[in-house]
């Protein structure tokens, strides 16, 4: 095994030199002969040496072929597209020297159509570490049969997924595949289904991250779809169920691959993907950062040493809420003023911007933040925002990540578009997610908490652990204008009536008097309150009634 690892290193560096110079020289076999000389015995020396050398030579040869993948021509083509090779990607993703490869010599078993047989069969699998955290990884090699998925290729992926579940470590899939290995027919489809089944079984057991670094089309998209997070690379990756050609023939609509399922579309319009990056290097750097934030399984707490004081006050928060209730402010700034060193890893920053979700650290502990963004759609909940936040809350609940909710929500977005597309059904997802979650739940009402949306946003009634309001909070059924119209039916002095209503409801006192909020807190101390509560709640134990599983409103 030691010999193999040395060998891999050597050939890798040779490969690097070759790709630099463009020439290909056969790699040496000397590694093995030197390691074996010590075990030689003078008796029968000749026979054994030649036998083992022959075997070693063949291992060497097959390993070299596996490392080389589809050959220099295809490697150059891959690079010319601005894409890195499967192994280069793993090298960037994992800690230096930590990768342990499995199944390097696996080949496909297809007898038909003379499919080229290259050891590894288009996917590199194994485990390694990211900042010392164990992860399992597969990286599809589009230089080998276009990275297409054969039965053997699928088996390799399944093997590391099974192992990851067994030991409770995240799986990271680097996807760059042309799709099913058509030559294998139904065996390839079966392979996909095996992967899907494992994706589903692993859901909530270990974090699954899909990184789309090339094409991913047809049935193949459903594996990333089931995983927890999808990262994409701009201009070089796309995800769609049916490609531009089919779209053209069926609907007569002309559209490019990028326009149909590129990174921009999926991170702004469809919400399929969570983050998009300029290139492979930046994408993989960010995956490293992300994985370091996440717990590896539900029993692990993601924590690191704190580098910021839990009692740091921020006076700017005292003044951040504008006097005019209709004037927006940036909720992201509020989050960044609360978290450790102002760092915030936002998820889906360009989709459903009216709600912010993402991770920050509090005293070194990873915390999920959900916050209405008054800068977009006044922070209303709509279909996309509800679904985005619901999925985030459920992920946090799966992996025991505490949830901090910052509330400034004037209600659900009105309109036929919303109603006809099922805001009732989709809004219910967020309600369901919050109500079902048993992780520590802390909420802070910064301004508006109106109507049903108040209930939804981690309210006391949905088993919120600590619920606070800033002095600027307004917990009410609705804003004064609408309320006055209903209460007074347009009779009398509207200005005066609004004043009466505001004095009564447009403040946090009615909620505080009923205990729906635990306290009205000074904004500048928000960080301190959250840190203390997280410490208080760290051993929280709450479980839902025993059941097979709930029936979330899909």
């Amino acid at each position: 095994m030691l010999g193999r690892r040395l060998l891999n290193k050597t050939t890798l560096s040779i490969l690097k030199q070759q790709t630099k110079t463009g020439s290909l020289v056969c790699s040496s076999k000397k590694c093995f002969s030197t390691t074996t000389t010590a075990t030689k015995e003078p008796f029968k020396a000749v026979r054994i040496e030649s036998q083992i050398d022959r075997v070693l030579g063949r291992i060497q040869e097959e390993s070299d072929r596996a490392e080389l993948g589809g050959g220099i021509k295809r490697i150059d083509a891959q690079h010319a597209k601005g894409k890195l090779l499967a192994r280069e990607r793993i090298e960037l993703l994992l800690d230096e020297g930590s990768f342990r490869e499995y199944d390097m010599l696996v080949t496909h078993r297809c007898q038909d159509f003379n499919v080229e047989k290259i050891p590894g069969d288009g996917v590199v699998t194994g485990h390694g570490t990211i900042n010392g955290k164990l992860v399992f990884v597969f990286s599809q090699d589009s230089t080998v049969n276009g990275g297409s998925l054969s039965e053997a290729h699928a088996e390799k992926i399944c093997k590391i997924m099974d192992k990851a579940m067994l030991v409770g470590a995240p799986v990271i899939g680097l996807n760059d595949s042309g799709g099913a290995r058509i030559q294998e027919g139904i065996a390839s489809l079966a392979g996909y289904a095996e992967v899907f089944q494992r994706n589903v079984m692993a859901s909530g057991v270990i974090p699954q991250i899909s990184v789309i670094m090339g094409p991913c089309a047809g049935g193949a998209v459903y594996s990333p779809a089931i995983t927890d997070y999808i990262f994409m690379v701009k201009d070089t990756s796309y995800l769609f169920v049916t490609g531009p050609d089919v779209v053209k023939s069926v609907t007569n609509q002309e559209i490019s691959q990028e326009g149909l399922g590129g990174a921009k579309v999926h991170t702004t319009k469809s919400g399929v993907a969570h983050l998009a990056f300029d290139n492979d290097i930046e994408c993989l750097r960010k995956v490293r950062e992300f994985v370091t934030l996440l717990p590896s399984n539900p029993n692990e707490t993601a924590i690191r040493e704190p580098f910021d004081s839990p009692s740091r006050e921020d006076e700017v928060l005292d003044d951040i809420i504008p006097d005019d209730p209709n004037k927006p402010y940036d909720m992201k700034e509020v989050i960044e003023r609360i978290t450790d060193e102002g760092e915030f890893f936002e998820i889906q920053p360009d989709f459903a911007k009216n709600i912010i979700v993402g991770y920050g650290r509090m005293e070194g502990r990873t915390v999920g933040f959900v916050a209405n963004q008054p800068k977009e759609l006044a922070g209303c909940l709509d279909i996309d925002a509800s679904v985005k936040a619901a999925r985030f809350v459920r992920f946090c609940d799966c992996f025991n990540i505490p949830i901090v909710t910052l509330v400034d929500v004037p209600g659900f977005l009105p309109g036929t578009n919303q109603e006809h597309n099922g805001i009732i059904r989709h809004g219910a997802k967020l309600l369901y997610a919050y109500a079902e979650a048993t992780v520590p739940k802390i909420s802070i009402i910064t301004r508006k908490a109106y109507g049903g949306a108040y209930d939804v946003m981690s309210s006391k009634h949905l088993r919120g652990d600590t619920n606070y309001s800033w002095p600027t909070g307004q917990v009410a059924v609705m804003g004064s204008k609408g309320a006055v119209e209903i209460i007074f039916r347009g009779k009398g002095d509207i200005k005066e009536q609004e004043q009466i209503y505001n004095d009564k409801f447009a403040n946090p006192l009615p909620a505080a008097r009923r205990g729906f909020i635990d306290d009205i807190i000074p904004p500048r101390l928000t960080r301190q309150y959250i840190c203390e509560d997280l410490e208080m709640l760290k051993n929280k134990k709450l479980s839902n009634p025993a059941k097979k599983h709930g029936n979330i409103v899909l």
């Binding site: 890195l84 010392g132 750097r285 924590i303 690191r304």
Partner: protein, 702 residues
């Protein structure tokens, strides 16, 4: 509420303050009890500080958008005098008089700008028996008017700039006089100040445009569009004399030099001037005092001169108020000018004598503005997201904002005045450099990069400056600091250390610390600054200290370059700052943006991205596609947020490069936007009067 907010203003500015004590009553005290400060921003805060020192209660006035401003929080009471536009609030005499009555203030300090030189306001105050802390309305009227003051100055024996003494009107008249005096000439508003309403004209065409724009500006800024014209003395030095008089005898202070100007607005001032000899100083001082005595001046004031290369001085104008740059005079004379103003206004006689006003050391002031030095100093607006002020020996900041404040188009974009003091000019400059390096401002563009660059300018350091310094030294505009190879090495070290620290933090995660053999940070990185790529190896020091390293630059083969190793000590590190001792010298870095693979570092005032890659990332980065930036050359973008005043062209017009296209007004300055190339106008996308954002498309070209 106080439990929850650290603000007193919420309570104290409630209307209906029931203090019915008459402001006419004679107080048994020997000083005013309460002063209203009819201003905002840093100067209001500055005046309040002295009031507090003297035990005088203060009243702030504010517009509704300023209700949480620093000057409001500093004051004992605050009254809202109107909405955001200055004409309806800070210039709203009626509301201010009402505020005085409501609060019972006995005197008003006007600061600078706004009503500080408004004789009508002074008369209104006289009517209700409230003291104006400034000269009487006669002196103000006589000297505040540039035409009138020139006449008086001449009579008082002060040497004046050649020009036409009188008001000019009608474009033909102006052109005629301009030709009589000889180009270049300066047209300026009689009531002007602060660079507003004045333009240098070098030919008839300039006069035509400059006269019109200055007149419009004067009208909107001062409500007075009378204009005058005089000879423009090129390469002159702007040197001014602070005077102080109790009405009987005027004292003169050592001079201030304010030659570093852009668009006739002072940027860097110093006291004393490196150019002035004791003889000239005395001559200028005596003339200035004579002028003050001539009009029976009673307060602090400033006589501005232009000094040519032969050290001849010419009277420009007299400002009958406290000047923006007064702190440098205070620093070198150890006097509190605001206190003197208040005492004189109360009727006290000056206790200091001319011989008390000696020069002690050297002071320098940088005006820190919210503006973009890379885009011709155009104003920048926005929210100050992060604001960390420098401090330490010899550093004074007169500021009026704090973190979270909004810089709006309504008011002057001055963030603060940064003043440094030392025993000599060199020390003042050294301290200014350090202070600028420790000044962290995020959220708006600001001129710190420019100020910092000037501090290292050779001519500036030698004191060889004049009013054309900026156009001469930056003919193409300011492009940022030019880093030397040595400084790029320091930047590389800083960048690598930042990534090293970041990785060190990441590696403290519980999974890694629970490993039997935990992963340790990488030590070889490649730093890229501009097109310079430096492989760098970081070795923790042998003595086991956590903040000491050994940095070695490597060659392409990965071997250490001989004699390239240097010791690096992490002296201080916060999310915003990193202070390193590299070799034996201290370097200060500001960290402004963490990108995925880069850090934007501010060093020597200029921000520059430093990309830090691992050797693997570096060797593979050659395959990464280069993303193209969007080409906008087919349109004219608004370079700043503001209001479009007018268009000089219409769709279909063919224009040549440099031709006026439209005027955008921002911060009361009218900015002419010109054609970037010869082209045909395709369409005009906004209407006059429309408020536009920065980079909004104004005109499209074919």
């Amino acid at each position: 509420m106080n439990r929850l907010f650290n603000i007193q203003s919420v309570i104290k500015k409630q209307v209906g303050w029931s203090n019915s004590r008459s402001f006419h009553s004679t107080s048994p005290n020997f000083m005013f009890e309460k002063i209203l400060i009819a201003n905002r921003g840093e100067i209001a805060c500055r005046v309040m500080e002295t009031c507090q020192k003297m035990g005088i209660k203060t009243v702030a006035i504010h517009s509704d958008v300023d209700k949480n401003a620093k000057h409001v929080q500093l004051a004992d009471e605050a009254i809202c005098v109107g909405p955001a536009p200055t004409s309806e609030s800070y210039l709203n005499i009626e509301a201010i008089i009402e505020a005085i009555k409501m609060t019972g203030a006995q005197a008003v300090h006007p600061g600078y700008g706004f009503l500080s030189e408004n004789a009508k306001f002074v008369k209104e105050l006289e009517k209700i028996g409230v003291t104006f802390i400034g000269p009487g309305s006669y002196a103000m009227h006589a000297l505040g008017d540039k035409i009138e003051s020139k006449r008086i100055a001449k009579e008082a024996g002060v040497s004046v700039v050649p020009g036409f003494i009188g008001e000019v009107d009608g474009i033909d008249h102006v052109i005629k006089i301009a030709n009589d005096i000889g180009y270049p000439v300066m047209v300026k508003a009689s009531a002007g100040g602060g660079g507003k309403g004045m333009r240098i004209c070098r030919n008839d065409e300039d006069v035509k445009i400059g006269f019109r724009l200055s007149k419009q500006e004067a009208k909107s800024s001062f409500g007075d569009d009378r204009m005058l014209i005089e000879k423009y003395i090129e390469h002159g030095r702007h040197i001014e004399i602070q005077i102080l008089s109790d009405g009987d005898n005027a004292l003169y202070f050592p001079e201030r030099e304010c030659s570093i100007q852009r668009r006739n607005q002072k940027v860097i001032e110093e006291a004393p001037s490196s150019f002035i000899t004791p003889e000239v100083r005395e001559r200028m001082g005596k003339e200035a005092a004579a002028l003050a005595n001539k009009v029976g001046y009673k307060s602090a004031g400033t006589v501005e001169f232009l000094v040519d290369s032969e050290r001849n001085h010419y009277f420009l104008e007299m400002n009958t108020r406290l000047q923006v740059e007064h702190p440098i005079t205070e620093e070198i004379t150890k006097q509190d000018l605001v206190e003197h103003m208040i005492r004189v206004a109360y009727g006290e006689k000056l206790k200091i004598k001319q011989e008390d006003l000696k020069i002690h050391g050297w002071a320098m002031e940088s005006r820190v503005y919210a503006e973009d030095p890379y885009r011709n100093f155009l104003p920048s607006i926005g929210r100050i997201k992060k604001y960390i002020r420098p401090s330490g020996t010899g550093v004074r900041i007169d500021g009026g904002i704090f973190e979270g404040a909004e810089i709006s188009t309504y008011y002057d974009p001055l963030i603060s005045k940064l003043i440094t003091y030392g025993e000599d000019r060199k020390t003042a400059i050294t301290r200014m450099k350090r202070a600028l390096d420790e000044y962290f401002i995020e959220g708006v563009n600001h001129n710190v990069p420019f100020l910092r660059d000037v501090m290292e300018n050779k001519d500036f350091m030698e004191g060889d400056i004049n009013t054309s310094f900026i156009p001469q030294e930056y003919p193409e505009g300011f492009k940022g600091y030019n880093f030397t190879p040595k400084q790029i090495q320091s930047l590389s070290i800083a960048g690598v250390l930042l990534r090293f620290i970041e990785q060190h933090k990441s590696l403290t995660n519980s999974s890694n610390s629970n490993r039997t053999s935990s992963v340790s940070p990488d030590i070889v990185y490649i730093a890229k600054v501009g097109n310079v790529s430096s492989p760098l190896q970081f070795v923790p020091s042998e003595d086991g200290s956590n903040n000491k390293f050994f940095a070695q630059f490597l060659n392409e083969e990965g071997d250490a370059i001989k004699d390239s190793d240097v010791t690096v000590e992490l002296v201080d590190s916060t999310p915003q700052f990193m202070k390193l001792k590299i070799g034996s010298s201290i370097h200060r870095f500001q960290i402004h943006k963490k990108g995925i693979t880069s850090f934007t570092i501010q060093y020597h005032g200029t921000k520059i991205p430093v990309t830090v890659l691992s050797p693997e990332e570096d060797s593979l980065s050659k395959y990464m596609p280069v993303k193209k930036s969007v080409d906008n050359s087919n349109s004219l973008l608004s370079p700043m947020p503001g209001t479009v005043l007018s268009f000089a062209v219409k769709p279909g017009d063919k224009v040549v490069v440099g031709q006026e296209l439209c005027i955008v007004e921002a911060m009361k300055m009218q900015n002419v936007l010109r054609a970037p190339r010869d082209c045909e106008i395709k369409s005009i996308t906004v209407k006059p009067g429309q408020v536009v954002a920065v980079d909004e498309v104004l005109v499209e070209f074919k």
